[in-house]
């Protein structure tokens, strides 16, 4: 039976029952690491490719830090990475939080939910990194 009180079906992530500090750490990890252990076991080849892309993204940031890339390239990579992350998460962590951010309600993510989540999260992470690099003088525009 469908529960119309939730936009999609409720779901429990592996860390649903953790204590508050463990939960906070698990959520930080969840935001930063799109892969899950099970997914890694199942599709090693794909994950290897994914990691390679992740390294490429890291390299982009390093190059940016060295002043080798302009903002457009970084943003382009950010966009590419976000698309990639959406695909990964839909397989490995296909859920999003529902309601207040400090709550513990989770639900199954639709594709649009995941696009919204990843783009918004990466926008915040990207903006924070961008401003940090710029303020430290590591990014030249």
């Amino acid at each position: 039976m469908v529960d119309p009180r939730m936009p999609t079906d409720p779901i429990e992530p592996p860390y649903a029952g953790y204590s508050l500090p463990a939960m906070v750490l698990a959520e930080i990890w969840h935001h930063l690491w799109p892969w899950c252990h099970g997914g890694f076991q199942r599709k090693r080849a794909l994950v290897a490719a994914e990691v390679a892309v992740a390294l490429a993204v890291t390299l982009i940031w390093v190059l940016a830090a060295l002043g080798r890339l302009d903002a457009a390239a970084i943003i382009g990579w950010w966009f590419g990475w976000s698309v990639f992350e959406v695909m990964i998460r839909m397989q490995s962590k296909p859920y999003v939080k529902e309601g207040p951010w400090w709550g513990r309600q989770y639900r199954k993510a639709s594709l649009m939910d995941m696009i919204s989540y990843v783009s918004f999260k990466n926008l915040l992470i990207g903006a924070a990194l961008f401003l940090a690099l710029k303020s430290m003088g590591l990014l030249v525009l």
Partner: protein
């Protein structure tokens, strides 16, 4: 098939023409300028100086600091100086709304009257399409015939205070305020340099008899020695560990400071060389650049440093330079370059704050262009060295503060409006409980009032229509030059966006889109009015399957705009004309070329028959706000029975309720109709069923609880009689 393809090609070509035509008309928008325009000696070989200096036959090379050129007319008695031409970006680096400066060529006669202006390049998005570029030309032409020393501000003239008012460009307030600063400061800087404007000398500083020697660290701590650092990346150069230039500087006339730095005899020797009202500052520097400049020649000026006080600038020639042989202060750092410079102008006073300015050229790594840029560090002799302490200085309000003060009443009203909407929505449960299926006025009275205020006051009067272009502009300002002052200069948009960001996370985008967006409100008002005047039978909704397909179009529009803006802000601005906001509110339906008028009018006409077609299917701003709405904290309530009941879904104007009774929070515009049903004991089927059951059983009708059901009746067992009764 061939015919269809030909037709399609023709339509595409026509669309492209319509979209690109404004770009061609906006000649100064991102106009390419010669890369050496900021540095080449012969400025007038690159730009049309004669256009801003009528009657000139020839021009000098760049001279002075800041740079200008002299304009001459050939007369019977030889060449006659008739005025000066200068480039705004040689003098000031004030960014406009786009974060980039409006490059302006200005002509001024020998009396200080502006005789010509020309916008060479701007990056203002609003002037690309929304407002014709000629408006900016018209704006700067208002300076023609005015004296550069006049007090000029945007708005009405204030003869009592001596201010001349200029007409603003409606919808481009930030741009014109920035441009006013550019015009005034450029004109005054050159007029002072060539002697047209003279400053009144300020009272000179009188120093206390504090003579204790200080260490370097103490001098730095008390502010007697200050540091100005310029990093390579600030000039567009690759990052390096070593600063481009790092200068320590201080004022040597203060006895304790001068003696600490130069030693007793050194200070005495220096003071003996100074005339009354002459001032000595020292500079030591490290880094890859030289503050003296490698091109310095005898008799020339030091063109990389100057001292600024208020609107006056003081430059140094070789005769103003003395060698600095060493620093005596304990702990003084090593340095690569040093010097003592003498300010001989009586206008300068050490009792007041001044700045050491480093003048550089910033390299644009994409275009290779160099533009003038300055870095400064303020210096003010510490109070304990000045007799009577530091004088009181009343600094004029920055432009954005003036705007906030000037429009305080409107800002107050607008803020009250925002708070009222938030308060009403926060009390939505109370209002929906007071309403029922047949009488929704407790909710609608507020909602309709807010729509009318949004359209009339916010849209047409304040022109505060949020737009996707603002999001793109912020994005680019973040990349190039973020200045809070620029965004504060438009207080209504600034406040609106704070409100929108907060409420999107608390309740979702529906509060803004459904209750306050001027265009959305106008659109739905038209729909309601259409229904009220007998057009209801022509009004319709798209079928749910079609709606579910078309709703994605707006997300596509948003992502296309975002992606395009990364490569070409200009093209993104063109494409953002998909928003009819500029046509409707900023410029006016009948003030634009017909394709824009037709588009906006067509959408509004369609709104009479379909509820909010633009909001549902096209609005990129709505799409941008819908995505974070996924994570709003408080959504609308549902019951389990909603999975099979279609009562709310049938009446949902936003078509945001799916076949399972779930609300799509991204599409929901928070009209609250479903929330009225939620507690309506006659309209909500589970409630109606329970109501009938209780009435039949003679049970009381308890109030509706927060979960949307009657508060259950729990019969309590009768208590046995207690001992007290015996």
């Amino acid at each position: 098939m061939k015919r269809i393809l030909t037709l399609l090609r023709a339509v595409l070509a026509a669309t492209t023409l319509v979209l690109v035509a404004p770009l061609a008309m906006a000649a100064a928008y991102e106009a390419p300028l010669p890369a050496e325009i900021g540095t080449a000696p012969d400025l007038c070989a690159m730009v049309a100086c004669h256009e801003v200096m009528p009657g000139a036959d020839s021009f000098s090379e760049r001279m002075g600091r800041p740079a200008y050129v002299e304009a001459y007319r050939d007369g019977e008695q030889g060449r006659e100086l008739i005025g000066y031409v200068f480039l705004s970006t040689d003098i000031v680096d004030i960014p406009a709304y786009s974060g980039k400066p409006v490059v302006t060529l200005i002509g001024m006669d020998t009396q200080g009257i502006i005789v010509g202006t020309r916008i060479l390049r701007h990056s203002e998005p609003i002037l690309l399409l929304g407002i014709p570029e000629e408006e900016l030309t018209k704006f700067v032409n208002q300076y023609l015939g005015k004296f550069v020393g006049d007090k000029i501000e945007i708005g009405k003239s204030r003869p009592d205070a001596g201010y001349i008012g200029l007409d603003a460009i409606t919808g481009a307030t930030v741009t014109v305020i920035a441009q006013n600063q550019v015009m005034l400061r450029s004109g005054v800087a050159i007029a002072r340099q060539v002697g047209i404007l003279k400053s009144d000398p300020k009272p000179q500083a009188r120093f206390t008899d504090v003579h204790e020697l200080r260490s370097w660290e103490e001098l730095v701590r008390e502010g007697s020695v200050r540091r100005l650092t310029v990093r390579p990346e600030q000039l567009g150069l690759p990052r390096a560990n070593e600063p481009y230039i790092e200068m320590y500087f201080g004022y040597l006339n203060v006895p304790a400071v001068g003696k600490s730095l130069l030693g007793m005899s050194g200070h005495e020797r220096l003071m003996s060389r100074l005339e009354p009202n002459e001032h000595a500052i020292f500079i030591i520097a490290n880094g890859v650049d030289s503050f003296k400049g490698s091109g310095f020649v005898r008799g020339g000026i030091y063109d990389r440093i100057q001292v600024a006080q208020d609107m006056d600038t003081f430059t140094f020639r070789d005769m103003d330079y003395y060698n600095l042989w060493g620093l005596e202060a304990e702990g003084a750092p090593g340095y690569r370059e040093s010097g003592i410079f003498i300010i001989r102008d009586p206008v300068f006073s050490a009792a007041y704050p001044w700045s050491l300015v480093y003048l550089g050229n910033k390299l644009d790594r994409n275009t290779g262009e160099r533009s003038f840029v300055s870095f400064d560090q303020e210096y003010w002799v510490p109070a304990h060295y000045l007799e009577g302490g530091r004088p009181t200085i009343i600094k004029p309000d920055p432009p954005w503060v003036r705007v906030w003060k000037m429009r305080a009443v409107e800002i107050g009203l607008f803020t009250a409006f925002l708070l009222a909407v938030a308060t009403v929505y926060a009390n939505r449960n109370r209002l929906t409980r007071m309403s029922n299926r047949k009488n929704k006025w407790p909710v609608n009275a507020f909602k309709y009032s807010f729509w009318v205020i949004s359209v009339g006051f916010v849209g047409f009067y304040l022109l505060a229509q949020p737009s996707i272009t603002q999001v793109l502009t912020w994005f680019h300002a973040l990349l190039f030059q973020w200045k809070w002052e620029l965004f504060l200069t438009d207080p209504f948009i600034f406040l609106f966006w704070i409100f929108i960001i907060v409420t999107v996370f608390v309740w979702g985008r529906g509060l803004f889109c459904g209750w306050m967006c001027p265009f959305g409100s106008l659109s739905e008002l038209l729909y309601k009015i259409g229904g009220a005047v007998g057009l209801k039978r022509f009004q319709f909704k798209l079928s749910k399957p079609w709606h579910d397909r078309l709703k994605w179009v707006k997300y596509g529009v948003f992502f296309v705009l975002l992606a395009v803006s990364m490569f070409s802000m200009g093209l993104a601005e063109v494409l953002s004309e998909v928003e009819p906001f500029k046509t409707t509110f900023l410029v006016g339906l009948f003030s634009r070329t017909w394709p824009y008028t037709l588009f906006a009018a067509g959408l509004l006409a369609l709104s009479i028959f379909i509820e909010r077609p633009f909001c549902k299917y096209l609005c990129p701003l709505g799409a941008a706000l819908a995505m974070p709405s996924t994570f709003r904290w408080y959504g609308l309530k549902r019951k389990q029975e909603c999975d099979s009941c279609k009562a709310c879904a049938v009446g949902c104007g936003s078509l945001a309720i799916d076949k399972d009774g779930r609300i799509d929070q991204r599409e929901c515009l928070l009209c609250l109709d479903c929330m009225v049903y939620y507690t309506d004991t006659h309209a909500c089927p589970p409630l109606a069923k329970e109501r009938k059951r209780r009435l039949k059983a003679g049970l009381p009708l308890t109030p509706i609880g927060a979960n949307g059901y009657y508060i259950p009746i729990h019969p309590e067992p009768m208590r046995p009689a207690t001992a007290g009764k015996s």
